[in-house]
């Protein structure tokens, strides 16, 4: 019953619109069926969405189509060959699933190395990030141009992928985990500098004012008001960065910074897929464990 009524009302609206769109029929006919019904009518139909508001979405979708087409043409992908080789991907994957315990202790040892690298890079990066973040935060910086300069440096460091930084460090410091720590820590420091500066800037001006009205110096304000007020944010970002660091550290082995990444690379290049498969599984299980742990900590520890 209600449905029928609604339908009737819509049809009235459309008819009203029709008369409007056609001036020859007399404008008063449309007005008679109700001014409200003819309100938003376009091309004889009642639009439901707001075309103006949807414009960005339509632009985005059209742009995606254009970019996909252009990239495909540019890369000159041989789809025939790709489709031909897909079954081979399956066979490699099957080989990897035939886990082989060969040199498993080495896998575990290098995994421990990777974890160590990610933790060290996290701690160094965090300490540097706290200092630089405080210097870069608008409400704490001793000198505005310094804040701007630091923020630009953070953006630059973050724009260049970690493996590139590690390769640069490798070139000067030689192969090994130290290069991994320095390269990854470098990137983490820029990351922390940026997010910590933002956290510090979010601390309400009033809180800072209250402590400074007691005669506190800039350093005292930082440690007594700004740092405690942003502690939960600092912990959340650190937990997130630990996950990122771990994944990055695993990849870094493949560019020569040691760790489990190198073990996987070595096994793959000598066609020991079973060994590589087990190493990948161990990496995955550990990543999952980290994720579960940080989620648990974030939920339990209400800072």
């Amino acid at each position: 019953m209600i449905k029928g009524e609604a339908g009737a009302r819509i049809s009235v609206g459309v008819r009203g619109a029709g008369t409007r769109a056609n001036p020859g029929a007399g404008p008063m006919a449309g007005a008679g069926t109700g001014a409200g019904a003819g309100l938003g009518v376009r091309n004889g139909k009642i639009p439901v969405g707001d075309a103006g508001r949807d414009l960005p979405l339509h632009l985005f979708l059209s742009l995606s189509v254009v970019l996909t087409t252009a990239s495909t043409l540019l890369l000159d992908l041989d789809w025939g060959r790709i489709l031909d080789r897909i079954p081979r991907l399956g066979s490699v994957f099957r080989d990897m699933l035939r886990f082989s315990p060969e040199r498993f202790s080495l896998t575990l040892l290098t995994l421990a190395e990777t974890v160590t690298v990610s933790i060290l890079a996290l701690i160094y990066g965090m300490m540097i990030g706290l200092v630089l973040g405080a210097l870069a935060a608008d409400n704490l910086t001793p000198w505005k141009p310094l804040s701007l300069a630091l923020k630009s440096v953070f953006a630059f460091i973050r724009a260049v992928p970690t493996p590139v930084w590690v390769l640069l460090v490798l070139a000067s410091m030689g192969f090994g985990m130290a290069s991994g720590v320095v390269g990854l820590g470098f990137h983490a420091a820029a990351f922390f500098g940026k997010v910590f500066a933002q956290l510090f800037e979010e601390v309400p001006e009033e809180t800072v004012e209250a402590v400074s009205s007691a005669g506190a110096s800039r350093i005292q304000i930082f440690f007594n008001a700004v740092l405690p007020a942003s502690l939960s944010g600092i912990l959340a970002w650190t937990a997130l960065r630990f996950e990122t660091n771990y994944v990055e550290a695993a990849i870094l082995g493949m560019v020569g910074a040691g760790g489990v990444g190198y073990t996987i690379l070595a096994a793959m290049s000598s066609y020991k897929f079973g060994r590589a498969g087990l190493a990948v599984l161990v990496v995955f299980v550990f990543a999952l464990a980290i994720e579960l742990l940080t989620t648990y900590i974030k939920r339990k520890v209400k800072i």
Binding site: P204, E206, T207, E209, A210, V211, S212, S213, A214, G215, A216, S217, I219, Q220, F222, F223, N224, A225, P228, A229, L231, S232, I303
Partner: protein, 261 residues
């Protein structure tokens, strides 16, 4: 005897504004005096208070704390003088994540070196004094509660105790009861009056409520358009004067209250 606070021809023009927020402000205060500042919104009450400890930088004029000039001196000297000027804020401005005790101890930071202050290494005497004041103000059961968990009235009392920890000679209260319910407002106002009477601290308080201002003051300063219109005892504040300060007839100023009550 030098006055505790002396303000001479103070003027503040905010950037991008042509009209001064406060202008031609001159007055002085002696120890233990309680001044309440009234006036309509935008009269410059907050600007005046914030210029006294230079949270807002005055455009011209002088402010003297116990005879020492705070205007036109370097930052280190400003910090040293700010220790003698406690401030209480409308929104309490506590660090919500920290305990009541930690917030109260912030009042001591101005007296400590950067290292001890940064690490929160307060002296046992200071902590002892904090406990005493918290006990006197009925806050001893909340010592280790987070400031964020307290009610508005309790937060403001913690705010006053924090200011008292500075052992100030002047207390600036910027709309201390504007966010409180009537009962808490009364507790806080009585606490501020107690500070002035018993501890001999000069208190200057911005208020919106004329009746509250008259009940708790020795002296009233009425402001309008950034300037002082009235400066004198409570008894001299006639209805006509209140109407001049607010630029509105009395009937529009009171909501179910009598000024003389």
């Amino acid at each position: 005897m030098t006055p505790i606070l002396e303000v001479c021809d103070l003027k503040k023009i905010y950037r991008g504004s042509s009209k001064p927020a406060v202008n031609r402000i001159s007055f002085s205060m002696s120890a233990g005096e309680m001044i309440n500042v009234i006036g309509p919104s935008g009269a410059g009450k907050s600007t005046l208070l914030r210029c006294i400890n230079r949270l807002t930088e005055p455009s011209s004029g002088r402010v003297l704390i116990e005879g020492e000039e705070i205007t036109g001196v370097p930052a280190a000297k400003v910090r040293a003088l700010r220790r003698r000027v406690g401030m209480v804020f409308q929104h309490y401005n506590l660090v919500n994540r920290l305990t009541v005790m930690q917030n109260v101890m912030h009042g001591r930071l101005g007296y400590m070196n950067a290292f001890n202050g940064a690490l929160g290494l307060y002296s046992e005497e200071d902590k002892q004094r904090a406990l005493e004041i918290l006990e006197q103000t009925g806050l001893s059961e909340f010592l280790y509660h987070r400031a964020g968990e307290l009610s508005g009235g309790q937060k403001q009392r913690v705010g006053v105790v924090r200011a008292l920890m500075q052992q100030p000679s002047i207390l600036l209260c910027d709309e201390p009861i504007a966010s409180l319910d009537p009962a808490s407002a009364q507790v806080v106002m009585e606490m501020i009056r107690d500070v002035s009477v018993r501890r001999g601290i000069a208190c200057i308080t911005n208020l919106h409520q004329v009746d509250v201002a008259m009940r708790y003051a020795d002296r009233i300063i009425g402001m309008n358009g950034g300037e002082i219109i009235y400066d004198g005892p409570v008894a001299g504040l006639t209805e006509r004067m209140i109407e001049r300060i607010y630029g509105k007839p009395m009937s529009q100023l009171m909501i179910g209250g009598d000024v003389s009550a």
